[in-house]
Amino acid sequence: MNAPVPYDHEIELSNVLERCNAAARETAIPSQDELPEGFSGTLGHFPVYFPEEIAHAAGLLPVNILGGGNKLEMKHADARMGSFVCSICRSTTELGLNGTLQGMTGFVTHPICDAAKHLAGIWSRNLPDQLAQILYLPQNVNTPGAARYIAAEYQRLRADLEKKTGRAIDDEALRNSIRSYNANRRLLRELYRIRRDEPWKVSCTESYLLLRARTRMPCEEHNALLARALDAIRHRSLPAQDKPRVVFVGGFCEQPPLEMLEAIDETCYVVDDDILVGLRWLTADVPETGDPIWALAESYVERSDASPVQHDARKMKEDYLMDMLRKSKADAAILTAAKFCEPGLDEQLAWSKHLDAENIPYLVLEFEEKMTSFEQMSMQVETFAESLLFALA
């Protein structure tokens, strides 16, 4: 009789990460036969934030459409979108035109930038069977009435999904979804707490893979994976290394290639970031009682993160970067922006001027999801890390 294999946290984490890596690298959406139990279709949504709970309660698997990465061959989109449009919008268009996203029930984009809003028109012209639309999340959340307006938008979306699926979304179903997502939010907050307090236990790349997995699986499955991962991470006994602590900002929409994050992890501890911030947009639990639509809308206004693509007079852009630096006790910042991303590039400049004034070291990087060469970037990051260590010594 074989002796029982001792439980190995490292193997456990490795298994979870392998599963997450596979999910993260997947651009296709599950076919009708592959849909998880309880789901009748998929609802694609573009970054930054989308109230996944509404799709989840409608029995539609929320799928965060994050472009095509650096492996996708562009055959159609280059002729349909100008060369001056960011990679994530172009490759998303490619995935629509080449059939990869053809099976979705719907696709929702948001007013995060003008290129993103155009995706709704492109979808309606080329994939008219899908429920393609813009969900208007306001750029002015400071006026009383913002929550009411968002709630009305959510109700509209709810009614559209009901019509499309033929399935009513009752309040109790929504509350169940909110409960699942609240659990997810708690787990993600814990993941980021470990990143801040014990960054040697989990790298930015690993954390990203764990987070991104939610874009292709039901929230409940993701919760189970995260719980396993966090348990394994907590038990990890890795020694702290002599690396500077940095925050990484600029990954809120287009995705930095995995190799780029790995290059940064090599020499720095990334103690906080805004990567896929939309999946962590609500910073506290959504009320699980009362009107669930109102609870979601009110959370968007009162308990949400900050991003270059949202204007909120209470969240001055320099302030939230400084807040990130302070809370994570970071020594420096890595300011990135995706190529052709207007909000990102504008913000990057403002941040860099502010950090100059505050005498805080930073490194500016530009990236594209489709980039394949990282040698130069690795060298830049390494030199930056060394200069920081020298300064901190």
Binding site: F84, A115, G121, S124, K317, E342
Partner: protein
């Protein structure tokens, strides 16, 4: 009105109104007024051409600065490159809006503009109609400490989206816009120290109503053949006045005389081009450094831009006579009309195929020219795909050219000329182009 015949031609009398000269005079006077604004302690607001709440600001006697117009004026006056380079030296990316870069150059030049000194603003109103407006206003907010109000205007949510006055959706959108207007009014009161005057708002609205009536009549006159004006050259002067003088007596008078002038032109059967052979629609924004050259490339072939969707979105969508303010309930009506106009302006871009299909029909055009702007994602991101739709699904010939708003480094004369020539040759091959053969000229 139909393109085929003019039922009631206006009297064929020559008039002494020169829209271009009068437009230039009004713009010059406006800049002169701005130049003294700070010294006069006048309240000054930075606003954009779309979604700008001008009626409220006028009710508070704000002097209006249009940063987009400042930027395009650097292009028209061949000075834009200097301003753009200054901002790039400061650190701005080559990939962002060249209007913004010219404006940052203006800040770096301490507000010295080729048209005169631009005053410091006491308020900025940025709407979400173009995402860059918000980022632009954030620059002033950070750098110049300009108080900023972001006006969120809901747009078209999906293809085929129809919202009519009185619909539940329209009512909900208008309520949200009105709530924001209330906030804006409170902010204006704090800045100016004045109480909001509802009657004054109604007076401004009454003047806007008149302007919009004339504006729509002017646009409709270009459905005649030959077209009395070129939507991409003359039209730019008209839209400039429509924005800068929206709600002023001078604005009303300009539009009234313009309509009269163009009616007379139509009555005389006088077109913009001597021999109109092709009626075209221009989609996008012009390249202001080469605007005349661009129009000339088309006019030498007998092509006239009978319409441009620029005249829809740069008027904030106010290009429909049904969008009239009810001056007996000024604020509610302002919110209702703004919600509809904004949606129209946004639809013009994000679901452009629907609006273009209608405009192609209304102006009976032979082809559509798309002008992609390298640094403007609002105008350009969906343009090539829209072109494909118009070309294939509507079987309307199209041309796609690319340059920039005001960055002369992106204008390539030879390349654009080649493409324009090829386009007209293709139009000829389709059987078009016989001088005025299939069109009935309106005669007196």
């Amino acid at each position: 009105m139909s393109t085929a015949t003019l039922q009631h031609p206006a009297p064929a009398a020559a008039d002494d109104f020169d829209p271009r000269a009068e437009g230039q005079r009004l713009i010059k006077e406006w800049y002169a007024q701005l130049e003294t604004a700070n010294a006069r302690n006048a309240a000054v607001a930075n606003v954009f051409v779309m979604g700008n709440a001008v009626e409220i600001l006028r009710a508070f006697d704000f002097e209006l600065v249009f940063p987009e117009i400042n930027s395009l004026q650097t292009g028209v006056r061949k000075a834009s490159e200097e301003y753009i380079r200054l901002s790039e030296d400061y650190g701005m990316s080559p990939d962002v809006c060249s209007y913004v870069k010219a404006d940052v150059g203006l800040i770096l030049k301490e507000n010295e503009h080729p048209a005169g000194r631009i005053p410091k603003a006491s308020l900025a109103v940025a709407s979400n109609m173009c995402g860059t407006f918000i980022k632009w206003a954030e620059i002033w907010e950070r750098w110049l400490k300009t108080p900023t109000f972001v006006l969120d205007l809901p747009g078209q949510r999906a293809a085929g989206w129809q919202v009519r006055p009185g619909d539940a959706q329209h009512a909900a959108d208008a309520r949200w816009v009105e709530a924001q207007f209330q906030e804006l009014i409170a902010q204006c009161e704090r800045i100016t120290g004045k109480r909001f005057d509802m009657d004054k708002l109604a007076e401004v609205e009454a003047r806007v109503n008149k302007m919009v009536d004339h504006w729509n009549n002017v646009m409709a006159l270009n459905r005649q053949c030959p077209a009395p004006f070129n939507a991409m050259l003359d039209g730019l002067t008209y839209i400039g006045i429509m924005n800068v003088h929206r709600g002023t007596e001078e604005g009303v008078e300009f539009m009234r005389r313009l309509e009269e002038h163009l009616k007379a032109k139509v009555g005389r059967g006088e077109g913009r081009v001597a021999e109109e052979r092709f009626r075209l629609l221009f989609s996008g924004t012009p390249c202001y450094v080469s605007m005349r050259r661009l129009v000339e490339l088309f006019e030498t072939w007998g092509g006239v831009f009978a319409y441009s969707d620029y005249l829809t979105f740069a008027a904030g969508g106010m290009d429909a006579t049904e969008l009239r303010y009810d001056t007996s309930r000024p604020l509610e009506s302002l919110a209702e009309v703004t919600a509809l106009a904004a949606q129209r302006g946004l639809s013009n871009q994000f679901f452009a195929h629907e609006r273009l299909a209608q405009q192609i029909k209304d102006y009976e055009v032979d082809g559509v020219v798309f002008h992609g702007i390298k640094s403007c994602r609002f105008v350009s991101s969906g343009m090539a795909d829209t072109r494909e739709f118009i070309n294939k699904r509507l079987d309307v010939p199209t041309l796609y050219i690319e340059s920039d708003l005001i960055d002369p480094r992106y204008w390539s004369d030879a390349q654009i000329k080649n493409r324009v020539d090829a386009f007209f040759e293709a139009l000829h091959q389709r059987g078009g182009g016989a001088p005025l053969a299939r069109k009935t000229v309106a005669t007196a």
